[in-house]
């Protein structure tokens, strides 16, 4: 094995002020050799990020390493002074983050953000021309097009993939020997994710660096890892070479994580009989921005001429990347937004352009579950208040509402004793169940799930998907399932529509789309799905 760039041994992190000795992570051992990518995999709360930030000595306030050692090329970092750590950060250890939009400073140009690394990591002043040359070279190295112009751009003027390339260029600018990547592709579209993963792999080969790669997605692991470290609840449960861990996981937890990666294969290929149509959408158009006073002004066509039907008990997947118009479509159908033109026929009534007054009685038939369960529950209302409010809104007495809420909670697999508790006491998956219960309060015919499982850990994601399938068969609920992930859609949906730039480019039964995709874009989505070769 080649020389170790990073050696973490027996690392234990605890609270700064803590008498009873609570440990956030315990006895972590990770070694990153030169020229290899070591993936630390785990769900939220596993301690994988704490491990990464310990190496940078950038732990959140209140946490500190209490035992163990962290060595960078043999140099002990736990004992290092603040000044020494500052020297190492950015020059010997580069780091990239999950969300490149927020990780870059919005009010500084790309050039400023890269140039300051050169400025603050050397004693002498560098002439502007030389700095420009190095920044330009670093950007070009990340295969950024028009790097010379991009230098003077602000982050908001770049695409998600470009921003992450800028982040990587910044992390690699001073030629570090270790790159720490904290979920660097989680916030990106799958096609972009693929490119960034290829780029990182290529960097490792060309520059012979070590990479500590934090992720929750075994699909990503399968694509890039040389070594795998699996973490759960603050300890390492399994580690080894990627081939061994992926093919023969020793621990049941590892097995569970691998199995939870959506493979896009329907478990039961039941053929559903034709059902009465609940929803029929025709020629739906949504245009943002207004034509200016003299007919100028920018106009975005978020949805162009969408048309589809949804039958009782049917789950229709809408798959697309960011900017495809899938969420706009969902918002129009649920009439959280008024479409520009077209027809939305809900149980025979066209609700596309009617006033809010006329719409009110129809609202109960369509309910929405959103992506982020942390923000879609009012933190100051107890779970009971949130749920009962929904039931009472549709005309139940408070007593009837209480009984109803209990049934709803049972339906989504939650204890009925939780009514007096507040949202922050629950995990992401539990909160999403509560959100689903709330959506079901009005006895809707159609449930719109807008990226409803995207923010959840894979094992939780699998549970919620099962819940949706279960609700469909028990209640005959129809669903519009909006997602960026073709694999997830494949596990749940009867039919799939693929959207790109506001257009439905392909639609059909799930099996047909998976076995025989027609549109080049659908094919691109398939080939970009992480872990395709190694996990199937």
């Amino acid at each position: 094995m080649s020389e170790a760039v990073l050696e973490v041994a027996g690392l234990t992190v605890g609270l700064t002020h803590d008498a009873d000795g609570r440990r956030i992570v315990r006895d972590i051992n990770v070694t990153v050799p030169r020229g290899q990518i070591v993936c630390v995999v785990g769900e939220s709360g596993s301690g994988k990020s704490v491990t990464a930030f310990s190496v940078m000595a950038l732990l959140p306030q209140g946490l500190k390493p209490v035992a163990g050692s962290i060595k960078l090329l043999g140099e002990e970092l736990i004992a290092a002074t603040d000044d020494r750590m500052r020297e190492l950060r950015g020059s010997r250890i580069g780091m990239i983050f999950q969300e490149p939009m927020t990780a870059l400073n919005p009010v500084m140009t790309v050039r400023e953000q890269l140039a300051e690394l050169i400025e603050w990591h050397s004693e002498k002043r560098h002439p502007k021309a030389e700095v420009d040359k190095r920044v330009l070279a670093a950007l070009e190295d990340m295969l950024l097009p028009n790097a010379a112009q991009m230098m003077h751009a602000y982050p908001h003027q770049l695409s998600g993939g470009q921003r992450q390339r800028v982040m990587i260029a910044m992390a690699m600018l001073l030629e570090p020997i270790l790159l720490i990547a904290d979920e660097p592709t989680t916030a990106l579209d799958v096609t972009t994710q693929k490119q960034i993963l290829v780029l990182i792999k290529d960097l490792v080969k060309r520059k012979n660096i070590g990479v500590l790669f934090i992720t929750h997605d075994f699909g990503v692991v399968a694509d890039i890892a040389d070594q795998v470290v699996v973490m759960q609840k603050g300890v390492v449960v399994e580690s080894g070479s990627a081939d061994t861990v992926l093919k023969n996981p020793a621990q049941p937890y590892t097995r569970l994580l691998i199995d939870s990666v959506p493979k896009g294969i329907r478990k039961s290929a039941e053929i559903r009989e034709p059902s009465p149509t609940l929803l029929e959408v025709k020629a739906l158009k949504m245009t943002y921005g207004h034509r200016g006073f003299l007919g100028r002004g920018r106009v975005t066509q978020a949805v162009k001429e969408a048309a589809f039907t949804l039958g009782r008990g049917e789950i229709l997947g809408v798959v697309g990347e960011s900017g495809s118009g899938k969420s706009t479509l969902a918002r129009c159908v649920s009439r959280l937004m008024k479409p520009t033109s077209g027809e939305i026929s809900l149980l025979g009534t066209d609700i596309a352009r009617v006033s809010n007054e006329t719409l009110r009685p129809h609202r109960r038939y369509v309910q929405v579950v959103f992506q982020d369960p942390y923000r879609s529950l009012n933190p100051r209302l107890s779970v009971g208040q949130s749920l009962i409010e929904g039931v009472v809104n549709f005309g139940a007495t408070p007593e009837a509402a209480r009984a109803k809420v209990a049934t709803l909670l049972e339906l989504v697999g939650m204890d009925t004793q939780i009514l007096d508790r507040f949202p922050h006491e629950f995990s992401g998956g539990q909160r999403q169940r509560i959100c689903i219960a709330r959506a079901l309060a009005s006895e809707p015919q159609i449930l719109i799930a807008d990226e409803a499982v995207s923010a959840l850990d894979v094992t939780v994601q699998a549970q919620v998907l099962r819940l949706f399938a279960d609700l469909r068969s028990r209640l005959g609920l129809a669903m519009l399932f909006i997602t960026h992930d073709l694999r997830v859609a494949g596990e749940l949906c009867d039919r799939i529509m693929v959207m790109k730039s506001g257009e439905i480019v392909e639609s059909g039964p799930t099996a047909d789309i998976f076995d025989n995709p027609q549109h080049p874009y659908t094919k691109a989505l398939f080939s970009a799905a992480p872990g395709r070769e190694r996990l199937q």
Partner: protein, 316 residues
Amino acid sequence: MAVAGVLLKRSVSVVPVLAVVALIAFLLLRFSSGDPVAQLAGDNADPAAIAAIRARLGLDQPLPVQFLHWLWRLLQGDLGTSIVSNQPVSTQIVQRVGPTLAVSLTTIIFSVLVGVPIGVLAAWRRGGWLDRFAMWTSVTGFAVPTFAIGYFWIYLLSMQLGLFPVQGYASLSEGIGRFLWHLTLPTLTLSLVYVALIARVTRTSLLEVLNEDFVRTARAKGLPERIVVFKHALRNAAVPIVSIIGIGVALLIGGVVVTESVFNLPGLGRLTVDSVLARDYPVIQGIIMVFGGAYVAINLLVDISYSFFDPRISAQ
């Protein structure tokens, strides 16, 4: 878009605002109690003399005619003539604007130079002694009325220590030293509340920014902490701080009236008080228009400065 173009476009858009200000200023005075003519004529004047004065001043005409007459001259840049002194209003304002402008400028500069660093340090060392002291002081700054602060400074710095003059004003032509020496107490008096305001807003918006991801990135790049705070964080916190400075400048004009009285400065605040007591309509209207114009100009500058601090806000 070029800044000049934006300025022009926005300047045109403030014309209706100023028109409304003019109308309100005019009506407010006409419907308030008191009659300038009666005051001018004195107690023993006979009705014929009063009528003559009224006619001479044009106050016997119907209100719309008076308003349009005034507006027409206003558009030509003529603010009218004082009823009391017979001087052009513009001359009176120009004579008095110096001290007001001087106190306002020194106050706002002082408040920014002191308030922003206090806010930054308080946010950076959140919960530390400096933070607690700064926030305690700022509560005091809000709570104590301006005139009381003024008398406190006079007592402490003038009467006890003899460092600064109790009252009066020296124009810039008398030398910058004397000029600033006279302005010190009024500035300290007026500043306290703005220092408090700016420090608080700076602290709050900086605290928010310090939790952002890009601050973590800046630290991960190995930048020194002062660069992280002052370069990365503060610039992102600038928009709310600049807004509050803008509001501060606007409110300042009100505070100046009190301070000018306490320190006996011959500024616009004093002119306002005198004119109101004499029901000198043209002067009051003129001052309101000048203040209104100043408010609007400050607002415009603040709006335009947003796009300078944050490239995501485009100047339109």
